[in-house]
Amino acid sequence: MSLKNFVAPFYVWKRAFEKPLTNTKPLETRPGAAAYRGFHVNDIEKCIGCGSCEEICQNMSIDLVPVDGIETKDGDSGLRPRIDYGRCCWCALCIDICPTGSLNMTNEYTWLEEGDGDVDDKFIFTPGVDKKNWNNLELGYKRPVDYEILEYSKIKMTIMETAERSDSFIEMVKGYSKEEAEREADRCVACGICVATCPANMDIPEYIKAIREDDLNEAVRLLYKTNPFSNSCGRICTHRCEDACVLEHRGESISIRWLKRYIMDNVSSEEIKSSLADEFTKNGKKIAIIGAGPGGLSAAYYLAKLGYSVTVFEAKEKAGGMLRYGIPEYRLPYDELDKDINYILSLGVKIEYNIRIGKDKDFDDLYKHFDSIFFSIGLSKPYSMRVEGETLPGVISGLKFLDDVTMGIDPKIGKSVAVVGGGNVAMDAARTSKRFGADVTVVYRRRLEDMPADLEEIVEAQEENVEFVVKAIPTKIVENKGKLYFSWNNAKMVEQKDGGRPKPVAIEGDITTRTFDTIISAIGQAGDFSFLPKEIEEKLKFKWGKVITDKSRQTADSKIFAGGDVVNATADAISAIEDGHKAAIGIDRALRKI
């Protein structure tokens, strides 16, 4: 043992003269680092209760609970996460996945409880709702920029090039390939917020799951459970589900509509038949349905499945209603619509074409011979523009125009066309005119953002070089040498005092006049109830031109049910389909008296 080895340990004493490492007493409160994963906070206004945090938590430490003052509404489940700190491991996966970005962490880390009584109600709290001293802390773990574990951008849909599509009636949207669909389906967090927003309550997360698992037969079964028009809906649905999608909050929603289309595109009619395997026994009761549109045929499908003999009366020569006559072929090819209709017909549903009730056949006749009647006649009476000269020969209604195009009748439009209105019918009319080679101008009373048409329709119309004239109130149409002189009064938007949506008010004297060959009026339409006999029309109740029904779509006459655009306020295909489904259940209940 050398002396050095003996002395060396005393080197420790050197430290006695150094500044101590110790934190001062009383212990200085050392806050956690700026990105410390401490206790949770939740912005409950931003949170929508989608439950992704609950889903990803490996400790089952998060519950979704109702919270006072938070209402369940479209796109918000009304639930909020409650965290059990007897389970949490502060891994912050819940924060990483939070699609709204409402859940975050603070750098607070001390929470003590005294251990008397039961521990069951301790260390459990709803962030953002319960008062905690860390609720207002700024620092703490937030999902770092550039770090996302979910995919927030859509898989791009292949759409025909503008130049190619603006004179073609071939379907412009190409649909997803298998790989694209699976990738898009993979983005879904399966929260189910969209289900309640869908009028038909389709099992959206489940069929997306079926796509992921490549089980399209199961997907078809899920689709037909609530919607026999999936093929058409997969193309033209107003997809309110996508607006409710959680991913919409920080990125782009899932293309639920295109995924539905992907399913239907990739199963043949035979596969649909075999995977649905609809079996039923006839129960001998007869139902009459007026109008072979989505509402009528959907009711027919579900009634047929319940064993009823269904006869559908259709005024036109083909079935499909507005899906066929209102929607141009480049959006919904007739073959695809026929695929839906043919499956319904294959269940034994009879359609009598070219029978207009009230004209070719009496309503009373049906009332006497059938056990129940469902009508879903749609809105067929165009609103008038109430301007001078609207009866001139070159002025036609949008519905008539689209009808003619569908039936192959030359709509006789000129080189320059004005379309009045901002709804989907107006867009369809404008873009269809474009495909006939016309220069199209859309004239609308309000601003672009006020247009009721789907955003993508407007965007696509713009891409196709449709001109938009907004804040223009039509005043008169004058004919001179085959030309129509269309005048409108430019307007300004005036905020309403009661908070209603801004109203266009004409600017005195600011009038523009342009010449057109054809003017298409598409400012809306109303139901035509002239087919109803007087006494029944008096019995049924109406409000704002719509029939009032109860939840099962039963009207004031217990034998008559109604649905579709003449009943619901949204007036789109998916609502009509849901009306048909509900009415079928309602009719079944009424007839079986349960």
Partner: protein
């Protein structure tokens, strides 16, 4: 081949020594689980004659949580918070290995910057773990002061981790696809400051420990691992390097960015506790040098995470792989098998302590003085949670 002279020891049947405890020649002693000299929570069942240990049995399982079972019912992303709990003082090795195994099976390539950050993280955790170990080893041999210094300095490294990853102990920083965040501003300067503090500490601790005659007397010749034993018992890491084996996963099977870094395998030839102490001291200094190299070579900008499939329904095709990394105790390995579902089929963790603390310690402990058994455990550097998982 290298069995001890067992003449004075009792007969062994079926691997068990047969003691006549009532002969009063032997005494049974429990060293742990509740004993300050035991690292972590494990127990040694000692049979002593006088103060010499004549039989030793390791008891583990006090920290058994069944990780491998739990991972079978967790999604891939849900496993990464749980794997770091397998080794408390050095969690990042687990995180890295699990993430890398998943990336290999799923065919994901992570960005350059993420690779560098991971390398840095592994070296920092190596430093922290060694600091903790120095404290334990010194404490077990009666040098409390070094323990105070080392653990306090480890805390500075933990502060760095807290700033970088958001947590002190369980960082949960490396996820399949990269890492969870970039460096905060000015981090490199604070890192350098801590490194300088640690360098000073290592210098001081070396003087106090390596030149200490008491410590030398106790560690020299304690727990000698001969070169033949290395493969016989599957000894890895500093324990093997203390016996002259030039083996280091970082050099042998380079992972992350270790092939771009300049370092040599540290070896000593004595094979006893003191040699292992020297190996670990030199590796601490080496680790500091590696951290400096990494920081200087690291790209300043770039992505640190690549998007993985939706974690809620991420499925990985059938496959199996084994990945390893050099932890402070040696080769740490993850065997991951998948079966095409959204959950791992099997994850097996190969902790180096598995062999060091059970079969090796049971062998080396025989013949050791009771007072030195804590020092022997320390010099083998065992962490119980990675034995029983």
């Amino acid at each position: 081949m290298f069995d001890l002279d067992r003449k004075k020891y009792p007969k062994i049947d079926d691997g068990k020594a047969n003691f006549e405890l009532y002969s009063h020649k032997y005494l049974k002693l429990w060293h742990g689980p509740q004993h300050p000299g035991v690292t972590g929570n494990m127990a040694l069942e000692l049979t002593v004659s006088g103060d010499e240990i004549i039989d030793l049995k390791t008891h583990v399982g006090y920290l058994h949580r069944g990780f491998e079972k739990l991972m079978e019912r967790r999604r891939f992303i849900q496993c990464f918070p749980i794997v770091c709990r397998i080794c408390v003082p050095e969690p990042d090795t687990n995180e890295y290995l699990f993430s890398a195994a998943i990336e290999e099976l799923a065919g994901i390539e992570i960005p350059e910057k993420a690779i560098w950050i991971r390398t840095l993280n592994l070296e920092m955790t190596r430093l922290a773990s060694y600091l903790m170990w120095v404290g334990g080893q010194a404490g077990a041999l009666g040098l409390g002061a070094v323990g105070q210094w080392a653990i306090a300095h480890r805390d500075y490294v933990l502060d760095l981790f807290e700033e970088m990853t958001g947590a002190r102990v369980y960082h949960m920083y490396m996820v399949p696809g990269g890492v969870r965040g970039d460096f905060p501003q000015g981090f490199v300067h604070r890192l350098e400051a801590v490194l300088q503090k640690c360098e000073k500490l290592i210098k001081d601790a070396k003087i106090v420990m390596l030149n200490n005659s008491v410590l030398q007397d106790r560690l020299v010749g304690l727990g000698i691992i001969t070169p033949e034993m290395i493969d016989k018992f599957g000894i890895v890491g500093p324990n093997a390097r203390g016996s002259g084996a030039k083996r280091d996963v970082r050099k042998d099977n380079p992972y992350l960015k270790y092939n771009e870094l300049d370092f040599e395998i540290v070896t000593e030839t004595d094979g006893d506790g003191f040699a292992r102490l020297k190996v670990r001291f030199r590796e601490m200094s080496q680790s500091i040098s590696l951290i400096r190299q990494i920081v200087s070579k690291m790209p300043k900008t770039g992505k640190f995470h690549v998007k993985t499939p939706n974690p809620l329904h991420w499925k990985i095709p059938v496959g199996e792989t084994y990945l390893k990394a050099e932890s402070t105790r040696g080769e740490y390995g993850f065997y991951v098998a998948t079966d095409g579902s959204g959950f791992p089929r099997k994850v097996t963790v190969r902790g180096p302590s598995y062999t060091h603390a059970v079969s090796l310690l049971e062998y080396l402990g025989v013949g050791v003085n009771i007072a030195d058994i804590a020092g022997l455990m320390g010099s083998l550097h065992t962490y119980p949670p990675e034995i029983e998982r």
